[in-house]
Symmetry: C2
Subunit: 226 residues, 2 copies
Amino acid sequence: MSTASARAYELIRSLILEGRFAPGERLKEEELTDLCGVSRTPVREGLRRLAIEGLVVVTPHQGAQVAAIGEGELAEIYALRAMIEGHAAGRAAMLISGDDIAKLKALASEMEAAVAAANSDLSGGAAELNARFTPANSEFHRIILDAAMSPRLAAMAALVVEIPLILRTLARYSDAELMRSLQHHRELIAAFEAHDEDWARSVMRSHVLAASHAVVRPGVGRVQPD
Amino acid sequence: MSTASARAYELIRSLILEGRFAPGERLKEEELTDLCGVSRTPVREGLRRLAIEGLVVVTPHQGAQVAAIGEGELAEIYALRAMIEGHAAGRAAMLISGDDIAKLKALASEMEAAVAAANSDLSGGAAELNARFTPANSEFHRIILDAAMSPRLAAMAALVVEIPLILRTLARYSDAELMRSLQHHRELIAAFEAHDEDWARSVMRSHVLAASHAVVRPGVGRVQPD
DNA sequence: AGCACCAAGATCGCATACAATCACCGAGCC
DNA sequence: GGCTCGGTGATTGTATGCGATCTTGGTGCT
């Protein structure tokens, strides 16, 4: 059995990412105590860890609330993400194993199949996309990050990759953007097979920046439309 | 009065950076309790925070030990630092105020004076350098990071800027390298005054990569000379 | 009516007590 | 003699209690 701290951390984190707490909502320690089934101490530790990762903000004597992010902040986060993941892809191009490349290929196929299925089955396409595409996509990026073999780089990535997930961004992709994303994946794999550091970094940067423009888009995603 | 957690965090952190604990040394919570004058709870919180920042590593049921870093790891850390601080300098070039530029100029002068004093006063030059140069240098970099106005970027920087400090790298700079470092500072200020994003980023990258080669050098800094 | 202030309730920060786990060490067995 | 297996001490993980601080609702004053 893992420690209670880790379980509290993971539970709270998943609840936030699932959108069970509204951005800006206050998280009371005792409330989380009930949800997690552990005492306040591990809950506090998990909360502090999430604070450092940027998912919640804690102010002394005032507790924690889930992070609320604005449009400008989101653009800046994507810029950082392009930098970090680009760097990771460059390192990965030098270090990645054939095994991992095979896994990436399988995941790319899975994502393509998910898109195809969503397109043929017109009803509920978006939901199926989220169910099949998103996990494969996360795994795809995680493998690359791990292949870079740099725990510090992974820690940096943790600061920026999860924030956009709070907004559940996939639904906003247009068909053309989705196709482009799939092509990026294939091109990344090609760059890895060629062990071309610059190519891999460049494609990954494009991939993330394209995603950025799919998400932070004028007039879309406003909480308060005016 | 600040919180006990924050004080514990800062105290332990400064002790590590001062070299009062050997790399790899185990940090027992009760021991730190005595040093900090607070209870184990805030000590633990500080320790976890330091773990996320990479200064210590904690393994479950085994406690914390100060991070030990190898040669290859150090090179990788400097590469990350060049990326992060380069990005920060680019953003800062767009956002920095005249006030901050004035402060940077004063700090650059202070560092130049420190080097001049160390060169004329032959005895104890290195010690004086560490006493005058290092704080000014840290402040110089901190101002740029703050000017970038990106808390996440600052958090990333925290992951990599402090690690090299554990090794107290300044003493290894040659005279030529020191002079180059001073010139980099002046050039950075010029780039900021021109609000030239690319120039600032490029100079900062050079600055960090140059430092990298002054530190991770074949045959220097081995713990176990063979 | 609006604002400042005060008190009660709630929540957080810290200290301490208890439980769980691990490392070390010595004895017994193969 | 070397290896395995408990036992014991130390250390970390978790729970809870108490004091400090903040929020909120109401009251009195301007």
